[in-house]
């Protein structure tokens, strides 16, 4: 019962952060690494060793290995890749994956949501981000720990899981919250 309340709560907090981050996202991504192989014609990029992906002020990913595919413009009849719809086709980050989502907070502070796992996979068709390999998401409110996979749907902005999960919420998050003061089947609070 308590899970059915806490899970949406954490998902809601994550949604608020990522939703705001998306609204501010710039059309720029910075990738850096020690090594890379770029298949320029196919639009397939493989980077490894000290990989960092950054959308300035919005999000940052660090990992050991990254494979990214940029959309191909089939309609143009040209061999080279061109952006279609302004997004990546797919992205697979593996090895010590850390994803940080930034959101400007109150008084000039920055709220950060951190996701950890052995692999993170993003596909533009389904618009989902799948975190596997001891997946863990940390927010200012608490931590969500999955056993198999945590899946974030970017379209519906909802979080779901594969396998079991555990949520640890910080006690002070409920301080002053009206979440549990909403109307329920029980009698009115005194």
């Amino acid at each position: 019962m308590i899970r059915s309340v806490l899970f949406p709560l954490l998902a809601l907090l994550l949604t608020l952060v990522s939703g705001s981050a998306q609204a501010q996202q710039q059309d720029k991504i910075l990738l850096s690494a020690t090594n890379c192989v770029l298949e320029l014609e196919k639009g397939v990029y493989h980077l490894w060793d000290h990989v960092r992906v950054e959308s300035p002020g919005v999000l940052q990913i660090t990992c050991d290995d990254l494979r990214a595919a940029l959309p191909q413009d089939k309609a143009s009849g040209t061999a080279g890749p061109l952006p279609t719809g302004g997004k990546l086709q797919s992205l697979i980050a593996s090895g010590n994956v850390v994803i940080e989502l930034f959101q400007p907070g109150a008084n000039g502070s920055t709220n950060v949501v951190r996701a950890f796992g052995k692999q993170a996979e993003y596909g533009s068709q389904q618009e989902i981000l799948i975190l596997t390999g001891d997946p863990r998401i940390e927010t200012a409110s608490g931590v969500m720990i999955g056993t198999e996979a945590l899946i974030y749907d970017l379209k519906s902005r909802t979080m779901r899981n594969r396998g079991s999960y555990r949520i640890e919420l910080k006690a002070d998050i409920l301080k002053g919250s009206t979440l549990f003061n909403r109307g329920t089947n029980s009698s009115k609070s005194r």
């Binding site: 059309d27 991504i29 020690t34 980077l47 997004k87 970017l154």
Partner: protein, 169 residues
């Protein structure tokens, strides 16, 4: 030499002529290597266009401020290998529109295998999608259009990581 290599060599030679390459003897290099006078030859405003053998369309264009034939492993000269300064390598799409442009202050070019590489710095960019690359230590395979970087790379993509959700009414 295979017919393909011969054809590529001839294409490269024609490209050199077409680009109006001007060969000049480099006095300082000649003085330091008197036994191989031809190795001292430096070509200024060097350029080679490599074309598709079937369609005749330009695939790659190498140009540089200076180029010298690189000595082979046996100490002789292999015309396919060039040590170039101020390289500009342009790759073209099948419709001959510009694709990637790679620039390097100093690198070695093999016009037979269509390779270029250097342990030094380089930049690459593509106007069509705004991608730009900066790095150290690269090898470009002109046949596969594959760029390998071995000592730090920074790539800037003009795209979004995720598609923003349309604003609700």
């Amino acid at each position: 030499m295979s017919s393909t290599n011969l054809r590529t060599g001839l294409t490269a030679l024609l490209g050199l002529i077409a680009c109006g390459a001007l060969a000049q003897r480099d006095g300082s290099a000649g003085a330091t290597n008197a036994t191989s006078a031809s190795a001292a030859a430096t070509i200024r405003q060097w350029g080679i266009s490599l074309r598709d053998t079937v369609t005749g369309r330009v695939q790659l264009r190498f140009s540089s401020t200076e180029a010298s034939p690189a000595p082979s492993d046996k100490g002789g000269l292999v015309p396919a290998l060039w040590d170039v300064t101020g390289l500009k390598l342009e790759s073209f799409r099948p419709d001959e529109s510009s694709d990637f442009i790679i620039e390097s202050p100093s690198c070695r070019v093999n016009v037979t295998t269509k390779d270029a590489g250097s342990i030094g710095s380089f930049t690459a960019r593509r106007e069509a999608d705004g991608i730009s690359i900066l790095g150290h230590g690269f090898q470009f395979d002109g046949v596969e259009r594959r760029l390998t970087v071995t000592n730090s790379v920074q790539i800037e993509l003009r795209t979004r990581l995720f598609q923003p959700k349309p604003a609700s009414p």
